[in-house]
Symmetry: C4
Subunit: 246 residues, 4 copies
């Protein structure tokens, strides 16, 4: 028993390799080894933490929409005009966070087990994500300022980068997945995660010379996203593997 535990805690913890499990089981001759392995690689708490972080982020975004100073002479239009930049930053960031959450949910529908690497990559993905309310605050306050637009772009590029890393890490380890992906599917998922990153890189690069274009790109991505979902839905028969990573 103690010996099993030593094995279980020292080796299986960090591996999640079907063959090692098989070896351990053969050696122990019971189901306990597998139960321990499954418990240690259960994605449940990773999802609980991630869903909690997403819930807080999209709710914190509103803290950057400040109650304006109202006087008797203020009209609704004037108040809304004053709020417009921070409301625009709120809506863009909210939709982006929604896209990231949907993407995370789709990815983890494929994942059966987590290992230490995946757990930490997920935490390091949450790091730039937690900077999104800060980025939205800058964008809402300085929506014409190249520096604010570039910092917002940096945050989005870092998020996209971590999504690519997690995608490559997870899909390259079939023992973490419910079902092995073929090469075409892996490339499709890579493209879906990589392309937004490149678009945000572009928005970052043009921010200095054309801040308006940069803001337009940030606002356009959610629109393009919903458009592409609709198009892909109707054309699902032809482009099957793209439809589910968006």
């Amino acid at each position: 028993m103690a010996r099993l535990c030593g094995l279980g805690m020292g080796r299986e913890v960090a591996v999640a390799d079907e063959r090692e499990v098989a070896v351990a089981q053969a050696r122990q001759g019971d189901d306990e080894a597998r139960a321990l392995v499954e418990r240690l690689h259960d994605p449940a708490r990773v999802l609980a933490l991630t869903d909690g972080v997403f819930a807080i982020i999209i709710t914190l975004l509103v803290l950057e929409v400040h109650v304006p100073e109202l006087t008797g002479g203020h009209s609704l239009n004037e108040a809304l005009a004053e709020l417009r930049p921070s409301l625009v930053a709120f809506v863009i960031s909210f939709i982006l966070a929604g896209m990231y959450w949907v993407g995370h949910r789709d990815l983890f529908a494929l994942i059966r087990r987590t290992d230490r690497g995946l757990v930490w990559l997920n935490i390091l993905y949450l790091l730039p994500l937690c900077l999104l309310p800060f980025g939205a605050g800058m964008l809402g306050r300085y929506d014409q300022e190249p520096v604010a637009l570039r910092i917002y772009g940096l945050v989005l590029v870092a998020i996209a980068l971590m999504r690519v890393v997690i995608w490559l890490y997870a899909t390259n380890r079939p023992h973490l997945l419910w079902q092995r992906l073929d090469d075409r599917q892996r490339r499709a998922g890579l493209a879906v995660n990589l392309i937004p990153g490149l678009v945000y890189l572009l928005a970052f690069l043009v921010a200095r010379i054309a801040p308006g274009v940069s803001l337009l790109i940030y606002a356009a991505v959610p629109l393009l996203y919903f458009l592409s979902i609709t198009v892909l839905r109707s054309g699902r028969q032809r482009n099957q593997e793209y439809a589910d990573f968006t």
Copy 2:
């Protein structure tokens, strides 16, 4: 296996259609296709995100109740009088958020599976909901100001609108439900979601000419809600289909 996966990820992901599942199963000859479909449409994380957002919203509402400046001469009544507008806005918004959460829980007790459309409609429902603390902040600070009352009304109308859209979307897709609803039930649920929206629209419209009436309407809805629950409870035998959507 890879072929199944290609199918599973390309088609079943976005469909949740009983017939397609049946076809896929017949083609694969095993239970894996169904397991994948169920995993991809599992509402669990949608509920986790939504419950998290509701928990944060009702807790953030209190951040708009600011610690007043107290001096030795202050009495409890004076302090409470100073806090009254923001406490009123807090209580109204808290009860409203509670009503929305109970409504969401009732709706999702009917829902067995989510599809991409429902997932996104739910996120777009959370968007105006996340503006509730901002609306409460305006209401608490400018409870006599038409503009503040109108912005609060806009937020509530947007929430009601999204509830109606989700209700129509979900109840129109029997493959997403545990049990098909008949037309009378669908109309009853529609009314329950639509009527508050119309009441808030009224409060929005009268805010400019009679701000006091507008505030009264916002305060009255929770009271009417509890009253109607009680009445419906005792008269449940006659109006069965209204009782559970309130």
Copy 3:
């Protein structure tokens, strides 16, 4: 099927009465009626919302501990002395929130199903609970001021009141419980929920004439709580029914 649904949605939703379920089942002749009833009364989301609110409250408490202004001449002791009132309010409120959460967990370990009344009483219990960070903010800033001490007391009395109401409501409805409680157990639980409320009422009443005594009472309750747990643990053989409601 549609008929069952009509029944299920109109009547079973709000009842959770064993006899009605039995009648419905006899009428339908299958397990669907029971499945629907269980789904509609599942406490899972009530617990998810409540745990989320508790997690946020105990984390928001720290927002009332403000980073002090430091200058080169500041010593650690001076900084801590400056922070002392808000740290004291933080620790008291944190332990109180912990006690409330443990009490909620103990109560819901007895509860098998929720009905609409219990769901709403739970929400109305969260209302004064969400005012705890506000109360802690007042206490931390004006720890000598009678008004602040009385408002803190009002919040705690309201929480205790709601706990008593929920205890009476739930234990008076055996169909909501896993196991019926006998009268001695109900009285014991009532006492455990009522006594703190009376103590806080005392602290509220003495705040005007003796603010120091009032603060002392707030600080003493957590200490007495831990002491009573320890005493009850060693004397568990004699006072069985008190041990688990603390």
Copy 4:
């Protein structure tokens, strides 16, 4: 039935001792006693609360990164230079919180049941953890100030202390665990929890005479952590019991 309940609520609640369960079961002659015991000791809500608190803490950390005042003449580098101290404090605290969460997840993968002591130790562990955003705020604002560095150190030492206490408490009670740990494993886990505490104590002690060294230690721990994971991974064969507590 009532008698069983009296037993279940008075004795089993606080014990979780296999032998007592066996006695109770023999006395009752059914599975209800065990079901009640398992429900009362279920770690689920402890994990829900803890994951919620961690999610909020890592998201609140960003609130200490304030949107800087930007003027037209500001370059990206200047803005980032201004943000650098608070970003450094954010990243250090974020990674530390991630390490604590991973450690909590690893520990509770070993824990099958909680008792009242473990539930309260977990709450008292969350107390200093909730002070982390406050500590990060001090570090970000006064990264050269000995007092701020010492307060940050105090928070980290308190967290490490609570981790050691929980480790000793849980691993000393085999009836709370899925599998008994042997002495070598208990010592290994103790070391993993104790050593960071000693390092932070060192950082606290040197803060007065060498603030730069203190800050360096705080920044180095996450780096050393990732380094040690990598080294331990490749040397897993030799140091099995260390690998999984890091």
